[in-house]
């Protein structure tokens, strides 16, 4: 059964925020942020809508795939939160690109794109679909607390997209999705509303709260456990992997994985220096960046892995 990425796309908003800009609003510095995270700048939506970014990424992916929106069987949009609670961002994007297929949002935090790949694979295998558009669009700037120096420096906004198909010569060799519930170390609350009956639950802060040390530990352990398991399952080795496409949360996580895997730096592409952590959009934006540079070639072996609030994680081995 084949599983091929026919085309990718990406879109970043125009407002750039540098580390020096952040140093003006919170107690931090370019030196601290760079050493701690590897991030130099990130983009934020500002007054723009996420649906615009999502559409741009989607249109590029369709164009590169040589597929019209009318041929799509499904649209999955991975996002922690769109411009609206409802309708879904997937439905809105579908309307904008002229698709006529079912559309739904999927929230698996930063692992959203991997979860969506798995879902697409299941649809292909059941014969329900042949061409699926995955759009990962995130406005993390709206979740970050811009008065909290520990978190606001980490995140950025962006959208990535991929048209995946059950035809072509690619293969999804194996996938591992996990959920290891632990709310305390990474969460952001949702609104309580104003219903006057039955009392009210405790107010939950709408901003992202994170225990950096525990999240780092979870991320590194998870990537390593998944890499070991998936390589063993497929009888492949770390050396045979051409690209380690990892969630762009923090350069230190990538360095830690690289050192434990004993693989060269060139195999670990990075965009986080310019984008920050865009949650589930990181991996498709990274894939599109690599595709535009001509880095991706048929037959290459990719290990992709992402991890996020939940705690959830998704890792796969894919043959292009």
């Amino acid at each position: 059964m084949s599983f091929t990425i026919l085309g990718t796309g990406s879109s970043l908003p125009g407002v750039m925020v540098t580390n020096d800009d952040l140093a003006k609003i919170v107690d931090t510095s370019d030196e601290w942020i760079t050493a701690r995270t590897g991030i130099k700048e990130r983009r934020v939506l500002g007054g723009r809508l996420l649906e615009e970014l999502a559409e741009e990424a989607a249109q590029q992916a369709l164009s590169r795939a040589g597929l019209s929106a009318g041929k799509l069987d499904y649209i999955f949009c991975t996002t922690v939160r769109g411009d609206y609670a409802t309708p879904s961002l997937a439905g809105i994007v579908g309307g904008r690109i002229g698709a006529h297929c079912p559309a739904m949002d999927l929230n698996a935090a930063c692992a959203g794109f991997l979860y969506a790949l798995d879902l697409a694979d299941a649809f292909f295998k059941s014969g329900r679909a042949k061409n699926i558009l995955i759009v990962s669009a995130e406005a993390m700037s709206r979740l970050a607390d811009w008065t909290d120096r520990a978190t606001c420096v980490l995140f950025g906004d962006g959208a990535g997209a991929a048209v995946v198909s059950s035809r072509g010569s690619g293969q999804l060799l194996t996938m591992r999705l996990r959920s290891q519930p632990n709310r305390e170390i990474l969460w952001a609350g949702a609104p309580r509303g104003n219903c006057p009956f039955g009392g009210q639950s405790e107010e939950r802060s709408p901003y992202l709260h994170m225990n950096g040390q525990e999240v780092y530990k979870f991320a590194v352990r998870t990537v390593m456990e998944d890499a070991e398991q998936l390589l063993e399952e497929t009888g492949l080795t770390a050396e045979q992997v051409d690209w380690y496409v990892l969630h762009q949360a923090n350069r230190r996580i990538l360095d830690a994985a690289r050192s434990r895997l004993g693989q060269p730096k060139e195999k670990f592409p990075m965009i986080l220096g310019e984008t920050g952590n865009m949650s589930s959009a990181c991996i498709p934006v990274l894939l599109d960046t690599m595709a535009r540079k001509g880095c991706l070639k048929g037959g290459q072996l990719l290990f992709m892995s992402a991890f996020g609030a939940g705690l959830v994680s998704g890792s796969c081995l894919m043959r292009l």
Binding site: R36, N211, G212, Q213, E214, Y216, K217, R221, R252
Partner: protein, 71 residues
């Protein structure tokens, strides 16, 4: 325990193990909060225990205490 930690720390930072004392602070050794997690992970692997992170740990002595409390 101190010897084990000193050895792991020295290797990790590429310094001489004699530079690590019980009183050494992480700041002195150039160990930031994520380095601290790396150290704890190395210790977890070596000792076969799970150690809960505590970001109040700022010196080698405090790290020794944290590890001993986890056993």
């Amino acid at each position: 325990m101190f010897e084990k930690i000193a050895k792991i720390l020295a290797e990790y930072k590429g310094i001489d193990v004699s530079e690590v004392t019980m009183e050494s602070s992480f700041a002195d050794l150039g160990v930031d909060s994520l380095d601290a997690v790396e150290l704890v992970m190395n210790l977890e692997d070596e000792l076969g225990v799970t150690i809960e992170m505590n970001n109040q740990v700022q010196t080698v002595a405090e790290l020794v205490k944290l590890v001993e409390e986890s056993k």
